[in-house]
Every structure is written in structure tokens, then in C-alpha cells.
């Protein structure tokens, strides 16, 4: 198939950046979106133009490293990661616009690559259960009701890609954060630090420059793992529990 591309090119964080047009002929329908970019990069190389920088690693939809805005939608038209989107989702002759995640908390590094270190810092602030190695009780000592285990699992599926932030008009990181708080908060092991966790994580979230949630639901529509909006309500309930006013 033939496609036209408009791609955000930005040499480094200080560069202003601009959209650049490219054309590709012979794109296989079976190739993934990133394989299409690989093909573009081979052509650019032949023409002596520097390849487009974009992030990916597993290319299996699980590491969360890939992610670009395609025709205005985070990860593109299907509910999946950019690496799992395939060219058969487009039509011959389509124009495709590709931009990086945009959010104050995610500065652009180059072209389509952004810095999502803020998400790690939110986890470092409290997104864990303190369990030093070697001191754990037998795994069967604490049964977990299946219902809670399933809900914890659902929330734990977040891959930390940041699409929720990119999709949100306020660039809020609340879906990501709510997912972690729900995952750990559904488990008996997560109870001792439950209050401290939500307070420390939300404090870090605001420090990083993410916006607040206004319940638009764009995040959950963009999320490739289907994390539901109610993890944000759970986070808010946990915040209220601590006596903090939301």
C-alpha cells in the first residue's frame, strides 16, 4: 500500500520542532506500525537523511516503551499499543500524522521520543509494598479472596506507557496512579501502607507537573490495557480516608 506521512521532527529538547512530509510506496499490510517506520528509516538512510527517532523494545505490547500520537489519537485508531497496531488498519493512500506524547511532565528528547521518568518517580514516592528480601512469610499464610485478587490483577496490567497522560486534555497521570493504588490496595499485603501510599504518590504527581482529573474519560479510552476509570474513584476514596480533602 501507499501512504503519506506527516511526522514531528525535533533534533533535541531545545529545538523548536516541525512537521515533515514523507511518502512510502510498498508498505506491507502485514507489517506493524513500527515496522512501517523501520522501512521509512531505511529509505531516509539511503537518502542521507537522519532516521526518525522513536521508542520501542518488546514490540509485543507489554513493555510500554512505544507510544506515539497517530492522527490525534494516543497509540492510534485501535485500542492497543503502537507496536501492535498493524498497517492493515489503514487504507491504501491514507495520510497519517505522527506526533510524540505531549504533556509538560513528558519533555520531548528527540523526534517522537519523550522522557517519562516522572512516572518512575511517582512509583518511587510510594508505589510499592515494603517487603525486604528474605523476611516474607509463606505465600499461603495470607489467602486473598478471588474477587480482590482479580481486581488487583486487572489494575496491575498497566504497562506504564503514558497514553492516558497524552490523551488527557489536562495531561493528568491519575489513571496510571489509580491503577497502582488499586493494585496494591486490593491486597491484604498492601493495607499497612495504604494511606501513606496515596498521599505520597499524589504529592509527587502534582510536583511533576501533571494536571488534575476532570472525569472526561479520554485516558481510559486511550489505554491499551483497558484500565477502567473507576481506579481513579478508588484513589479518591483512599485519599478521603486519610482525611485529605480532594
Amino acid at each position: 500500500m501507499r501512504i503519506s506521512l506527516k511526522i514531528w521532527r525535533q533534533a533535541n529538547p531545545r529545538d523548536k520542532g516541525r512537521m515533515v512530509d514523507y511518502k512510502l510506496d510498498e508498505v506491507s499490510e502485514d507489517s506493524s506500525f513500527l515496522e512501517m517506520l523501520d522501512l521509512l528509516n531505511e529509505h531516509l538512510h539511503e537518502q542521507g537523511e537522519e532516521p526518525v527517532a522513536f521508542d520501542s523494545d518488546c514490540r509485543e505490547g507489554i513493555c510500554g516503551q512505544c507510544g506515539v500520537v497517530i492522527n490525534g489519537e494516543a497509540h492510534g485508531p485501535e485500542r492497543t499499543t503502537t507496536c501492535q497496531l498493524h498497517m492493515r488498519s489503514f487504507r491504501d493512500g491514507d495520510e497519517i500524522i505522527i506526533e510524540p506524547w505531549r504533556a509538560d511532565a513528558f519533555p520531548v528528547i528527540k523526534d517522537l521520543c519523550v522522557d517519562r521518568g516522572a512516572l518512575d518517580r511517582i512509583v518511587a514516592a510510594g508505589g510499592y509494598i515494603s517487603a525486604n528480601t528474605g523476611s516474607a512469610p509463606d505465600a499461603h499464610a495470607t489467602p486473598v479472596p478471588k474477587e480482590n485478587a482479580d481486581r488487583a490483577f486487572m489494575a496491575a496490567e498497566c504497562i506504564g506507557c503514558g497514553a492516558c497522560v497524552a490523551a488527557c486534555p489536562n495531561a493528568s497521570g491519575m489513571l496510571f496512579m489509580g491503577a497502582k493504588i488499586t493494585h496494591l490496595g486490593e491486597l491484604p499485603q498492601g493495607q499497612p501502607e495504604r494511606d501513606a501510599r496515596v498521599l505520597k504518590m499524589t504529592e509527587q504527581h502534582d510536583l511533576e507537573g501533571f494536571g488534575g482529573c476532570t472525569n472526561l474519560g479520554e485516558c481510559t479510552r486511550a489505554c491499551p490495557k483497558g484500565i477502567p476509570l473507576n481506579v481513579i474513584s478508588q484513589m479518591n476514596r483512599d485519599l478521603l480516608r486519610t482525611g485529605f480533602s480532594v
Binding site: S28, S31, P51, D57, R59, E60, A124, G127, S130, A156
Partner: protein, 660 residues
């Protein structure tokens, strides 16, 4: 060392022995070693520093544990976050001898299965320890909040996996690796927050620093490139741990993440660390076949599919391009069920893979032609759907079916899936002793980056177990014996041996950037991958391997005159990153072929055509090859030196593996 070249390719040096495992009964060795390993007073730990390269399961677990213990830790990964390490992709599960099912499992049985599964080419002492600490891993992960699958009563569920007769595999749907890694990552982030671990994401180790301050050479640091700014940085410490994963990407197409590489361990190899069993590659039987030349990677479909799917090809090559649903039962060859009636579709990975290749080589492969041949066999769920109903199949395997449909555009509920073997895991890696220390003092190697626990063939669900065993329990206990002799004296960035390491990195980058040839890095990587897959892949011959060595040498020479990397070395440059990795693969590939050539036996994932039984099964030669091949770097353009470590089986009897 032998004076003359053997086979024109290598020399033989002194044998090596692993002297760290205590004598006595196998069940007591690990506790004895832990007791004998010197302690480090908590007050002194702050004075000791450790560098950990890699934050997958092995590295993140080690960094978190060492940080908790009070050492000063610096951790490195090339991705933008430690949570993205390749470990995240593991689907199936992790083994542990918990015997929660009461089905006769035990530490000894897990030990036995793992040694047998490894085709008797792993070290008994290491494997026993792995089985011993496996149960603690599950406890640790559950305490951290890893959401393993549970039963209605709230207790953990288990399943059986890959040719094993007990249910000892713990799992988290098809995302076990992700959930385990997130657990280790959170423990690591907690230490980062507490200030005991300093994390360097988007940093690539480019060189190992080895310094001889009069008491012999020691690993004392690394040279790394900040992938965002391009800056070359020096990091010094009292010990270095490499947890940088496997090197399956030498084949270009594999199930590994795109960035997986050999650079960290290969650079250490060039500095004196021996490389163990480089040619042992695991080929996984159930991957989605290649669809064309555009393809950048292959995707694994969990092996659990073999519990219900039936594998077949048409009996008659003329039927290969027919719609499979129109091929009647009597015209299908369920070849695994036919050849191995006892195990059927559940034979171990190496056997399932080789038979799929045989079928395609006979011309009975299915699916699109790539490079002139069809490489695919059917994995058919029609029977299972008939027996259990579509809903039951969906609830068991739904996410895998969806993934298959997304990638291939075909609906596997209606048309049989197509699968083909793909490179998946490398059992070789840097040689380590019982303490996980390499032949360079102060350099430790954990997880897939070392060679130690899997022998010639890795059973399913055992790599995750090894990564976490090494990271949480083994390394933190053994490295303290080494660190108790530290700190190893102040060291400045201007020390001549530090300078030398920095200079070599700078000049290498300069050389790559200034070559200004015509070919892209990817084109070399693909060419190398093709040679490796065809000649050092599922089946190897003397002649093919000799050709491969010649071809790799020619390709490498071409690379160093004709590669072209655009852009600059200041700042993010992904082609430059790839160029460094491919340059190292071009050296490693040659060593893999030499190792495969010298091992004139078939075992596990290494099938030598010259060594097979009358009915085409792999034939091991324990009298000649029951050893680890540990290779020493001979110098640029010089032949490598082979050191043998004899494998002694005291507690398990060596037997020919048979699944018939």
C-alpha cells in the same frame, strides 16, 4: 595451551574447575557456603559500592536487595525505565518446589527434572541451589503484591508446563514476567526513593574497567554512554554485576526485545571473562511464523497452548496450499502424536522444534512462502473447541488468540493457527563459579547473562526462577564474601587503566561515526542473522559452520569499512546505539560457530547432523563432551582458547534422554 590450532580455529588451554561449592551432601552445600562466606558489618556496608548493569529480574532484584542491605548501589539500563526490561515479556510462568498440590513435588524432583531437561550439561550444584531457593521466591513475590493466579479459596493456583509431570508452575495469566518484574521494579524504586540505589536509565554500558593495583586485576567499574546527551561517563565501584540478559538477537529475528544485546558481557569477555557454551541456543516451538521481509521480530505464543492444541501438517505436500479446514482427517499427519505417542504434543521444546523443521524441510510446511519455502505447521484447536466449547477455550487462551489475530489477521477460532520455531533464549553466557563470579575477580554475572543453570536446553518456567533466585537470594549472599575484603582503595578517573577504557570507547564511537560508508546497520544485522539461523540454528553441520565462520569474518570486515551512521554522537542517536551492538554480535557470532563446530555431539538445543541415532534423534556423547566449554578471548584476529570444566554427576545418573 596447545601450540597448534585445532580445526584451524582455536587452541586448547588449561582445564578449569569451580572450587567454590563446598564438599559434602548436595542438600547441605548452599547453607554451608552461606555460613562460610564472610559477613560485612552493617556499618561498613555504606563504604562499599556496587555497580549493577541491567534491571530485569536478575538485576532489579539484586539492586533492590543490595540497596536494602545498605550497600551503595548504582544500577543501569538502556531503556527509559527499569520496568521495561525484556523480562517483562515472559508469558507462561515460574517454577517453584512448593508442593502445594501434594502431587509428589520436592526440591529433589525439581533439581532432577532441571538437570535432565538440560540434557545433562548443567552444573549439579547450581541447579540444586536453584531448586532449593525456588520456594522463597514465591513467598517474596507474594509479599510484594505480585498478583499470581488464585483459586476460589484464596490460595495460589499452579499449572504444569512443558513436559513436566507435576503442577509446580506459578503464573499470572499470560503476563507472569510482567508481574514479577513490576514487583522487583517496585522494590527497586523504593530503594531509589530512599537514596540507597542510584538509577541510570537510558545509559548503556560500553566497556568494563579492570584495574590491577598490585594485588591482581579486579573489575572496578564501567564506562557508559548517556543515550540522551551522548556523554561518555565513568562509574567506579568495588564490584560490578552484569545482569544484562541474553544475546538471542544475534539471530536478528528472535522473540527477544529489540534492544537486547551482548555488549555488556562481550566487552567483559574481551577483558578476560570466559564465555561458557556460547552455541547453546533455545529454539521455542510455538512462535508466529515470519510473514515477510519487513519483519523486525518474532512473537512467541505461550507453550501452554500445546496442552490443548494439536499439531499437524498435511500428509501430502500437494495439500499444503489448501484451506486447512478442507483437508480431511485421514490426510493429516499429527506427527508428534505419531512419533512420540507417550508425550505427543507435549514433548520438550527442542524435540518439538526440530520435528517442525523436518516437516517443512520435507516440503510439507504451510502458510506463505518466505525466501522460497513455507515455514509453518498447524496448531489446531478444533478438537478442543468441539470437546470443551468455544467459551472454555476463550477463557483459557483468549488473550493469546487475540494476539495471534492481531498479528496475522486470521481468526484462530475458525482457522488453525500456524506456528514455527524461533530463537528464544540463550543458555550460554559468561562463565561463573558457584558464587556467580566470572574469571575476573570482582565481576559477577547473573540471570540469562551467565551460563550456569540450564545446560543445553532450558525447560519452561525456569529462566524467571533463575533470574530471581540469583537476584534476591544467591548473589547478595555470595558477593559479600568478596566485598568483605574491600573497599579496594581509592581510584581516580585518571588511573591509566581507567583512561584506557574511556579512550577505547571514544575511539570506537569515533570510528563508527567517521566511516561514512553506504550500508545501514540493520542491513548488517539482518545478514548476520541469516547466516546464524541457517548455519548455527536448529541444525548444524561441520561444513555449514566452517562456511559460517568465513562468511561472518567477511561481513565483519565489510562492516568496518562500509557501515554508515547518520547524525552525530552528541545526543540521542539510535543508529549509533545499534551499530555498537551489531559490531559486538559480529564477533560473538563467530565464537558461537566455533563452539558449535567443536562440539561434535547433539544435545538439547544443539543438534549436530553428524551425531544422530538411526531414527534421527539427537545423540549425546557423554564420554567426550560432558564438560562446559569456557572460551577465553585470544585477542583481536587471534584464535580463542578453549578451557574445559568437567561436569561431574554425583547425585544424578547420566542417562540418554528419551521421550518415545
Amino acid at each position: 595451551m596447545t601450540d597448534t590450532l585445532i580445526a584451524g580455529l582455536y587452541r586448547e588451554g588449561e582445564p578449569i574447575a569451580d572450587t567454590k561449592a563446598p564438599a559434602g551432601d548436595i542438600a547441605a552445600k548452599w547453607s554451608t557456603r552461606q555460613f562460610e562466606a564472610a559477613l560485612v558489618n552493617p556499618a561498613n556496608r555504606r563504604k562499599l559500592s556496587v555497580i549493577i548493569v541491567g534491571t530485569g529480574l536478575a538485576g532489579a532484584a539484586a539492586a533492590a536487595t543490595m540497596g536494602e542491605a545498605g550497600y551503595r548501589v548504582k544500577a543501569f539500563c538502556y531503556q527509559d525505565s527499569p520496568r521495561r526490561a525484556h523480562s517483562i515479556a515472559a508469558q507462561g510462568g515460574i517454577n517453584a518446589a512448593k508442593n502445594y498440590k501434594g502431587d509428589g513435588d520436592s526440591v529433589h524432583r525439581l533439581f532432577y527434572d532441571t538437570v535432565k531437561g538440560g540434557d545433562y550439561r548443567s552444573r549439579e550444584t547450581n541447579v540444586y541451589r536453584l531448586a532449593e531457593v525456588s520456594a522463597d521466591i514465591i513467598d517474596q513475590c507474594v509479599a510484594q503484591g505480585v498478583p499470581f493466579a488464585r483459586e476460589y479459596g484464596g490460595l495460589l493456583d499452579n499449572r504444569s508446563f512443558g513436559g513436566v509431570q507435576v503442577s509446580r508452575t506459578f503464573y499470572a495469566r499470560g503476563q507472569t514476567g510482567q508481574q514479577l518484574l513490576i514487583g522487583a521494579y517496585q522494590a527497586l524504586e523504593r530503594q531509589i526513593g530512599a537514596g540507597s540505589v542510584e538509577m541510570f536509565a537510558r545509559h548503556e554500558m560500553m566497556e568494563l574497567i579492570v584495574v590491577d593495583d598490585g594485588s591482581g586485576p579486579r573489575a572496578r567499574g564501567i564506562v557508559a554512554r548517556d543515550l540522551i546527551t551522548g556523554e561518555i561517563e565513568t562509574h567506579l565501584a568495588d564490584a560490578v554485576v552484569l545482569a544484562s540478559g541474553g544475546y538471542g538477537n544475534v539471530f536478528f529475528l528472535s522473540t527477544n526485545a529489540m534492544g537486547s544485546n551482548t555488549t555488556a558481557i562481550w566487552r567483559a569477555h574481551r577483558k578476560g571473562a570466559y564465555f561458557g557454551n556460547p552455541c547453546y541456543t533455545q529454539i521455542h516451538p510455538t512462535c508466529i511464523p515470519q510473514s515477510g521481509d519487513h519483519q523486525s521480530k518474532l512473537t512467541l505464543m505461550s507453550e501452554s497452548l500445546r496442552n490443548d492444541g494439536r499439531i499437524w501438517v498435511p500428509k501430502n505436500a500437494a495439500d499444503c496450499d489448501k484451506d486447512p479446514r478442507e483437508i480431511p482427517e485421514e490426510a493429516r499427519d499429527y506427527y508428534l502424536e505419531r512419533i512420540y505417542p507417550g508425550f505427543g504434543n507435549l514433548v520438550p521444546r527442542d524435540i518439538a522444534s526440530r520435528q517442525a523443521k523436518n516437516m517443512c524441510d520435507e516440503g510439507r510446511g504451510v502458510g506463505p512462502e518466505v525466501d522460497g519455502s513455507r515455514r509453518g505447521v498447524y496448531l489446531d484447536f478444533a478438537d478442543a473447541i468441539g470437546r470443551l466449547g468455544e467459551d472454555a477455550v476463550r477463557s483459557k487462551y483468549g488473550n493469546l488468540f487475540d494476539m495471534y489475530e492481531r498479528i496475522t489477521g486470521e481468526n484462530p477460532y475458525q482457522v488453525p493457527m500456524r506456528i514455527y520455531p524461533a530463537v528464544h533464549y540463550t543458555m550460554g553466557g559468561l562463565w561463573v563459579d558457584y558464587d556467580l563470579q566470572s574469571t575476573i575477580p570482582g565481576l559477577f554475572v547473573t540471570g540469562e547473562a551467565n551460563f550456569s543453570d540450564h545446560g543445553a536446553n532450558r525447560l519452561g518456567a525456569s529462566a524467571l526462577m533463575q533470574g530471581l533466585a540469583d537476584g534476591y537470594f544467591v548473589l547478595p549472599n555470595t558477593i559479600r564474601d568478596y566485598l568483605s575484603k574491600g573497599p579496594f582503595g581509592p581510584l581516580g578517573e585518571d588511573h591509566p587503566q581507567v583512561r584506557e577504557a574511556q579512550d577505547s570507547v571514544r575511539s570506537r564511537i569515533h570510528r563508527i561515526m567517521s566511516m561514512n560508508g553506504t550500508r545501514s546497520v540493520d542491513s548488517y544485522h539482518k545478514a548476520l542473522g541469516k547466516i546464524m539461523w541457517e548455519k548455527c540454528g536448529m541444525e548444524r553441520t561441520d561444513e555449514g559452520l566452517r562456511e559460517a565462520v568465513e562468511q561472518i569474518r567477511a561481513l565483519r570486515a565489510d562492516f568496518w569499512t562500509n557501515v554508515r551512521v547518520l547524525g552525530t554522537a552528541e545526543g540521542l542517536n539510535q543508529s549509533l546505539e545499534k551499530a555498537g551492538r551489531v559490531a559486538d554480535f559480529l564477533e560473538l557470532g563467530e565464537l558461537m560457530c566455533i563452539d558449535a563446530l567443536h562440539r561434535r555431539e547433539s544435545c538439547g538445543g544443539h543438534f549436530r547432523a553428524e551425531s544422530q541415532t538411526e531414527d534421527g534423534e539427537a545423540l549425546r556423547h557423554d564420554d567426550e563432551f560432558a564438560y562446559v566449554a569456557a572460551w577465553e578471548w585470544g585477542g583481536d584476529g587471534e584464535a580463542p582458547v578453549l578451557h574445559k570444566e568437567d561436569l561431574v554427576y554425583e547425585f544424578i545418573e547420566l542417562k540418554q534422554r528419551s521421550y518415545k
